[in-house]
């Protein structure tokens, strides 16, 4: 776990493993065939599956591990469905999946100076050993040596390896990799590599002991100096010779690189430019790390040239809808339900701006329509909205006139703002009596297909968690379409609360002596500040048809705040909105634009839409000047306080 001190506050670096809700859906603990059982390929998958170097960027829970695991032979063989055949035809390489392991980061745990060479060398040795062990695992899969818990129905890239050939191969690998192999089989080599990991750990402890007692350093064994690329090249050549399969491509899949030591991460990021071309590198990592400056050097691999970059977050929510619909279909089928459109299952959302949503038998803008009712209600409660209507010459009794014109588009665009202001804003005529509760229940605002799809941000883990919860509740309440809006909204609110509670658990250790009042203490604090500032802007402040809804991290934003935002980005609390052709992996947040995730936005009564940007320092300064949002009916807000 890495830490840095900023203004007296110790910020946990991105190397800390961020918590994630719906952990049971985490693919890390699943076997490839288990992942394949329920896999629905997003459009990204086909890009990732191409035989090219790839960098997969996304926050926790966005599906990076699942996508990589699905490239492996066991997963491809276990995968059923029409997409599976396409994948097996497209993927003409052998994948080797290597998750990041804590043993790659070996540190001196004592007091005083460390033996500066031994620890990073041992960490590198652990890394190389993991790579070679995963490679041998891939050899075993290809040659059918693994114990299958199910019958693989679709053989993919199998290789024939006789017993004699396997013995010779094992001996070759043992010699080249300096391995004492007791049983000359691939399983024996695999076991020997596992034993080596244990030996590395013991060596690290010995070195630590000797360092602590100021004893002379012992010489490290030869295998510590093996480099994984050269060792892997030899291993691949030996296997292909033994199995008589001819030279092929091998994809090294490195997962969760944000947890890896900086030196290893830098080495892998630079690999596309420097490594044997039989290897394809596919790397997954979080969107932000200060150590990703390696990508900004003039000689660094460039996206679009040296590698393909795949973003798993969707700054524009509509880009994730296709995947959500496909996943919904699968979930409906899994429950033996008819595969019907999402709008039928969940209804339409008030946040939808799709013109189709507004076509009805009679005019959607008529005097008795929902839109007109919403607008009229707000104009009664909100003087600033009345002023806006007057200035624009909008007659609420005649909204339906010219319904196909630009006026109709304007009306639709404002509906989200009208909805949240109606839901959460006290009427201007209300006396401010904190004890008085609204007679109406909290509104079921975050319901309907659009709202749900926006809230999950195309994140499969979130989607399964929220939609699964909705389905369970709907079953208990008596299944019908569309599913009750309060049920939907409650699940979104629960997920939102859980997510914010998780953000609270990201440790930030404060030095109380240096801590100043007003500085954010943790990730949740900075998210809360941003959420409340936008709430003032969009909900409680004077009506603005084009409010701010995203922010740019400007020069004046405090360093502590920026560090916390980095953690928020990697955990999915905020979403990066890149410029066209903008960088997809960030080593600095300054000058970049972000929005709150729509799940977080729901906690602050904000509509799920990408509004224009304002500088972060200016946004947060509005909280200092105007105090509490007295015009907001906090009793009705679902937010976490």
């Amino acid at each position: 776990m890495g830490c840095g001190v900023s203004h007296g506050v110790v910020i946990v670096s991105a190397a800390f493993e961020l918590p994630s809700q719906f952990e049971t859906f985490n693919a890390r603990s699943l076997r490839p065939d288990e992942v394949a059982r329920t896999f629905v390929p997003p459009e990204h998958f086909w890009t990732i599956a191409k035989p090219s170097h790839t960098m997969i960027v996304g926050p926790r829970g966005s599906g990076k591990t699942t996508l990589l695991k699905m490239l492996q032979q066991p997963a491809l063989e276990a995968w059923h469905g029409e997409d599976a055949g396409r994948a097996r035809r497209q993927i003409g390489y052998t994948s080797v999946f290597i998750p990041t392991d804590r043993s790659w980061q070996i540190r001196f745990g004592g007091v005083g100076p460390a033996n500066s060479d031994a620890f990073p060398r041992l960490g590198q040795a652990a890394f190389s050993t993991h790579v070679l062990r995963a490679l041998v695992g891939a050899f075993r899969h290809r040659s059918g040596r693994t114990v299958d818990l199910m019958i693989h129905r679709f053989p993919h890239r199998r290789a024939q390896l006789s017993g004699k050939a396997e013995r010779e191969l094992s001996s070759t690998l043992a010699g080249a990799w300096r391995l004492p192999v007791s049983v000359p089989t691939l399983a024996g080599v695999h076991l020997a590599l596992t034993e080596r990991l244990m030996e590395i750990r013991m060596l690290a402890l010995q070195v630590e002991d000797r360092t602590r007692h100021q004893l002379p350093a012992t010489e490290l064994p030869e295998f510590v100096y093996l480099t994984f690329v050269e060792a892997a090249v030899l291993g691949v050549e030996a296997f292909e010779t033994a199995a008589n399969v001819g030279s092929g491509k091998w994809a090294m899949l490195f997962d969760e690189l944000e947890l890896a030591p900086a030196a290893i991460r830098t080495e892998l990021i630079s690999a596309p430019r420097s490594v044997d071309d039989r290897f394809i590198f596919k790397l997954s990592l979080s969107p932000f790390s200060k150590e990703l400056g390696a990508l900004e050097r003039p000689d660094a691999p460039a996206p679009g040239h040296d590698f393909v970059s795949v973003q798993l977050s969707y700054p524009r929510k509509e880009d994730g809808y296709g995947f959500c619909r496909a996943l919904l279909s699968q979930m409906l089928r899994a429950r033996n339900l008819s595969d019907v459109p999402a709008e039928e299952v969940f209804g339409r959302s008030v946040f939808s701006t799709d013109p189709v949503a507004y076509r009805k038998g009679k005019s959607a803008y008529g005097p008795d329509s929902a839109i007109t009712r919403d607008y009229k209600e707000l104009s009664r409660r909100d003087e600033s909205f009345r002023v806006y209507l007057d200035e624009r010459g909008i007659d609420l009794n005649n909204l339906h006139e010219g319904s196909h014109s630009q006026r109709a588009a304007e009306v639709r665009k404002l509906r989200a703002l009208v909805a949240v202001r109606n839901a959460f804003r006290r009427a201007d005529t209300d006396e401010h009596k904190p004890q008085r509760l609204r007679s109406r229940k909290a509104p079921a605002l975050y319901a309907g297909a659009d709202a749900l799809f926006a809230a999950v941000e195309g994140n499969p883990r979130l989607f399964i968690g929220i939609i699964g919860g909705i389905f369970d509740a709907a079953t208990g309440a008596g299944w019908r379409y569309p599913i009750s809006r309060p049920i939907q909204s409650r699940e979104v609110e629960r997920a939102s609360h859980r997510f914010l509670a998780l953000l609270r658990t990201i440790p930030v250790i404060s030095d109380e002596g240096a801590f100043q009042q007003g500085r954010p203490k943790g990730v949740l604090d900075v998210i809360r500040n941003i959420g409340e500032a936008f709430r003032k802007e969009i909900v409680s402040g004077p009506f603005d048809p084009e409010p701010f809804g995203s922010f740019t991290v400007d020069s004046h934003s405090a360093e502590t705040t920026v560090d916390l935002l980095g953690l928020a980005l990697n955990s999915g609390g905020i979403v990066y909105v890149p410029d066209p052709d903008g960088a997809e992996v960030l080593s600095s947040l300054r000058g970049k634009r972000f929005r709150l995730s729509y799940l977080v936005a729901a906690a602050y009564g904000l509509p799920p839409r990408l509004d224009k940007a304002v500088s972060l320092s200016r946004l947060l300064s509005t909280l200092e000047h105007s105090g509490a949002s007295g015009d907001v009916d906090v009793q009705r807000l679902p937010g976490i306080n």
Binding site: F551, T552, S555, A558, D579, D581, A583, A613, V614, R618
Partner: protein, 410 residues
């Protein structure tokens, strides 16, 4: 050396107006890592609240700003990027037209390709080939700027010296430590030539000198030694001149206003904040991206018996909001003055006496200025000291506006 005639003249002969910006650092995005500035050529300019260029155009139009002179103190582009330099120069020319102003500029270290990133032998070629001509449109003066490291532009009641403090960037010995491109410089030969050029009498009431690098080290700011070598000689030269000078510079991105070293004719130094660079380090939270309008009321200087007085207005750039009046925490406040050197203690005494003589003992700042008009031209730091003096020693309560008092009372 100087151009005494100009087709353009001030619309108001008694006030000279100068619009000032510096250190734009325009670039062509998207940036791989942290962008160098907000002035991204690749970004659409239809949103004036999201880009400082159209933002400035909107400010000029809505506030109906006019000027005699638009001055840019260098670093048009970031790291001498050619496309960005042309983009920025075109913007400055359009802005000058909008202001009804004459455009003058000076080169910064980022404008000279001193590391030969785009050219193997000519570090200044890009700037020298800009159209219209850089740093002024008159070719003769531009040639003098590049050949002699300075030129003098004069029009009516103002005179402007443009000095090239990056003259030797891309030259200098490879063994020099620090390398020449790491700091500014004015050679002694340039000082001598400038002295000769300034010797003949002038009728210019406002005398300005624009350079990119700051001419002297300022404590707490200049940790990297990048100020002008031999800059003290320039300050001494101007201090010995008959006129009172205002030096306007950029480079450090730290807005400030102070007196140069020397006697009571030492020049004033107006240090511009950066127009649009992404600020870094400890200055990031205490300096803003700023644009300025300076006014020199010649008649007021004359009636007050002061050699040079002026007012300034500052605007800060905020993404999403555009250019807004600056606050005190961004460097230079939204409004202020310069040219009056009266000691803050004496000022406080006069103000306190005025308040005490009133019944009720309340005076507006405008009433103070009516009696002591020179106080309008106190520098922000001096006004702040006056406030402290009034509150701590004179028991005068000060209501404070945006950089100056509004009301004083017992």
């Amino acid at each position: 050396m100087s151009d005494a005639a100009s087709p353009e003249s001030s619309q108001d002969e008694s006030i000279v107006r100068v619009a000032v910006l510096s250190d734009i650092h325009a670039f062509h995005g998207p940036a791989k890592g942290e962008p160098p500035s907000y002035a991204d050529e690749a970004k659409a300019e239809d949103q004036w609240r999201q880009h400082p260029f159209p933002g400035l155009t909107a400010l000029i139009k809505t506030s109906k700003l006019k000027a005699d002179l638009l001055l840019c103190c260098g670093d048009l582009a970031d790291k001498a990027e050619p496309g960005a330099m042309k983009y920025c120069w075109a913007f400055l020319n359009e802005t000058a037209k909008l202001l009804g102003a004459r455009l003058c500029a000076t080169a910064g270290n980022h404008d000279i390709d001193s590391r030969y990133g785009y050219n193997a032998f000519d570090a200044r070629g890009m700037m020298q080939n800009l159209t219209p001509t850089f740093p002024v449109r008159e070719g003769r003066l531009a040639d003098q700027y590049w050949a002699r490291q300075f030129c003098i532009v004069q029009s009516g009641s103002w005179r402007l010296v443009l000095v090239n403090s990056a003259a030797y960037h891309g030259q200098g010995s490879d063994d020099a430590q620090p390398p020449e491109y790491a700091h500014g410089r004015i050679a002694q030969s340039t000082i001598e030539r400038l002295k000769d050029a300034l010797t003949p009498p002038t009728n210019a009431a406002v005398n300005l000198l624009a350079i990119h690098h700051h001419p002297m080290a300022i404590g707490g700011v200049d940790e990297d030694g990048s100020y002008m070598a031999n800059g003290e000689a320039l300050i001494d030269l101007l201090a010995m001149d008959r006129q009172m000078w205002l030096i306007i510079h950029g480079h450090r991105h730290v807005p400030r206003l102070l007196h140069g070293q020397g006697g009571n004719n030492a020049p004033l130094l107006f240090g511009c904040g950066s127009f649009s660079a992404l600020l870094r380090g400890r200055w990031a939270t205490s300096a803003g991206n700023q644009f300025y309008m300076l006014e020199f009321p010649i008649g007021a200087a004359s009636s007050l018996g002061l050699p040079l007085v002026g007012r300034f207005r500052s605007w800060d750039w905020h993404i999403g909001l555009g250019w807004e009046h600056a606050t005190e925490s961004s460097g230079l406040p939204g409004a202020g003055g310069f040219g009056c050197r009266e000691h803050s203690g004496a000022v406080a005494t006069k103000v306190a006496d005025l308040v005490r003589k009133r019944s009720p003992a309340t005076v507006s700042w405008l009433e103070v200025l009516a009696k002591y008009p020179q106080f309008e031209f106190l520098m922000p730091a001096d006004i702040a000291r006056v406030r402290t003096e009034l509150e701590s020693s004179k028991s005068i309560r000060v209501q404070w506006g945006a950089g100056y008092p509004t009301e004083l009372s017992l």
